[in-house]
């Protein structure tokens, strides 16, 4: 009961802040959707409407505000609308619209939230605020699960919040691994020591939590994360040594079952869990070839009624974000998704090049590098996971798009000012 009252008070304060700054509605929506604080309150039903209210407030703000990005199309936004169009069409022409409705609803909500980020985030302060809210929201799970892992000596495995896209242990591991680079960026750009301690605490406990998930995909994502952080640092050898000591010190505390599970990565072909995934991947590929334009509808390929004609009927998730899109929404949506990922990864490299050693743009250089690393962690991690609509990825891609627009605009202003000074 106390938790419900506390949450009501805090949600009330949040909405009071919204009345003074409309963009806060998007921050509240992201917070309630990712952290889902209402799930831990006494009566979640009372508070479930707050998420809806935040969404509606964001829509109203989006329509009424003049402080938003101009509707100038670029490659990313074109691909984004193509992708969204195919997600909608694949639901309309779904093989079973009742079965595919629930994943479709999640997907379309995430896409709309991404559209709101694309339209509304147009300054450094908004990027920073959104990253803080996202970090705190998912960081809560990193901290609580990390502490649980330490308290239990790594016994049993931890999972994410129920009913979300990071609900299972593997998804939680990839979600947390993606968040660590963003936390590192906030550590580098925060002036207050307490804020830096918060980000470092969240990152450290999240890494412990990733190990505590007992997820093999999570361990591979962690490997990509560590490698990326080392390669992007100036003192590579020192950072390598720090990671070796930290991880080498933590691993002996893990139970034998953890080592036995991780050992199966090296003989995946003998592992029944891996073989089951290969079977599900084959089903997804075969069904996508039968329905190449619009796919079968989100997640319909999971069900024997739609895959029995391929041979052995299976009841299994596809466990690969790319193949989920290919089977669920067709080849064009799949191409648009890959295109969006490729263009944003490329833009990160361009932003880094444009802002290297430039006065006033070091934050953008750091952010582009960490967004790129976060997407690479996702790109590898989801090869064995169904996380195509994890908001962490869509937030990253939208922020890259916005960051590019901010940098191009500010660099243009800087060069115009310099020219004016030169001719004055």
């Amino acid at each position: 009961m106390i938790k419900t009252i506390a949450l009501l008070v805090i949600t009330g304060i949040a909405f009071a802040l919204y009345t003074q700054a409309g963009f806060v509605s998007l921050l509240i929506w992201v917070w309630l959707s990712i952290m889902m604080p209402q799930a831990e309150a006494y009566n979640p039903a009372i508070l479930s409407y707050s998420n809806l209210i935040a969404g509606v407030a964001t829509v109203i703000f989006l329509i009424t505000t003049k402080d938003k990005n101009p509707a100038t199309p670029n490659i990313f936004t074109i691909l984004f609308f193509i992708f969204t169009g195919f997600v909608i069409l694949s639901q309309i022409f779904s093989l079973d619209s009742d079965l595919s409705y629930s994943p479709f609803r999640v997907g379309i909500t995430v896409l709309f939230m991404t559209y709101a980020v694309l339209a509304l985030v147009n300054t450094k302060v908004k990027i920073q605020a959104l990253l803080w809210v996202f970090l705190i929201s998912i960081g809560y799970y990193g901290v609580t699960r990390g502490l649980y892992t330490i308290a239990n000596g790594g016994a049993g495995y931890i999972t994410g919040p129920g009913g979300t896209l990071i609900a299972d242990n593997n998804q939680l591991a990839v979600g947390l691994a993606m968040m660590v680079p963003l936390s590192y960026y906030l550590t580098r750009t925060s002036a207050d020591k307490r804020a830096r301690m918060l980000t470092m605490g969240i990152s450290s406990l999240s890494i412990v939590a990733i190990i505590g998930t007992h997820s093999r995909g999570g361990l591979i994502s962690l490997g990509v994360l560590v490698l990326g952080l080392i390669l992007r640092s100036k003192n590579k050898l020192l950072n390598l040594l720090i990671f070796i000591i930290a991880i080498g010190g933590a691993l002996p505390l893990m139970p034998d079952e953890w080592f036995q599970r991780m050992d199966t990565i090296s003989h995946a072909e003998e592992d029944s869990s891996f073989n089951g995934r290969v079977e599900a991947w084959n089903v997804a590929i075969k069904l996508s070839l039968e329905h190449p334009i619009l796919g079968v509808g989100a997640h319909n390929q999971y069900f024997p009624i739609y895959n029995a004609h391929l041979g052995t009927p299976i009841m299994r998730a596809t466990h690969n974000a790319y193949l989920e899109i290919l089977a669920g929404h067709g080849f064009l949506a799949f191409g648009a998704f890959l295109g969006m990922m490729a263009i944003t990864l490329l833009w990160c490299s361009r932003i880094k090049k444009l802002t290297k050693n430039k006065n006033g743009f070091l934050w953008a250089n750091d952010l582009a590098g960490m967004l790129q690393l976060s997407m690479l962690v996702y790109g590898v991690g989801v090869m064995a996971l169904s996380m195509e609509f994890w908001f962490g990825l869509w937030l990253n891609m939208a922020l890259v798009c916005n960051l590019r627009a901010i940098i191009l605009r500010e660099l243009k202003l800087t060069s115009t000012a310099k020219m004016q000074r030169a001719y004055a």
């Binding site: 106390i2 938790k3 506390a6 949450l7 805090i10 304060i13 949040a14 802040l17 003074q20 700054a21 963009f23 806060v24 921050l27 509240i28 917070w31 952290m35 604080p37 831990e40 300054t123 450094k124 302060v125 908004k126 920073q128 605020a129 803080w132 809210v133 705190i136 929201s137 960081g139 809560y140 901290v143 609580t144 502490l147 580098r188 750009t189 925060s190 002036a191 207050d192 307490r194 804020a195 918060l198 640092s233 100036k234 003192n235 950072n239 290297k356 050693n357 430039k358 006065n359 006033g360 070091l362 934050w363 250089n365």
Partner: protein, 54 residues
């Protein structure tokens, strides 16, 4: 224990929202340099090299 951490994170969210409001123009500043989540002022690059700690 979990309840205390939960409450701590909710308070952090409010601080983050408040930080945005402080720096959004509604309270006068626009550059994100005030409040708990204030951004660091970047060092001046005089010889073309970023000398911050890696």
């Amino acid at each position: 224990m979990t309840a205390i951490i939960w409450l701590f994170f909710l308070i952090m969210i409010i601080l983050a929202l408040h930080w945005y409001r402080q720096n959004s123009g509604a309270a006068g500043a626009f550059d994100g340099t005030i409040g708990y989540f204030a951004m660091k002022e970047e060092p001046e690059i005089s010889d073309g090299k970023d000398k911050r700690n890696p």
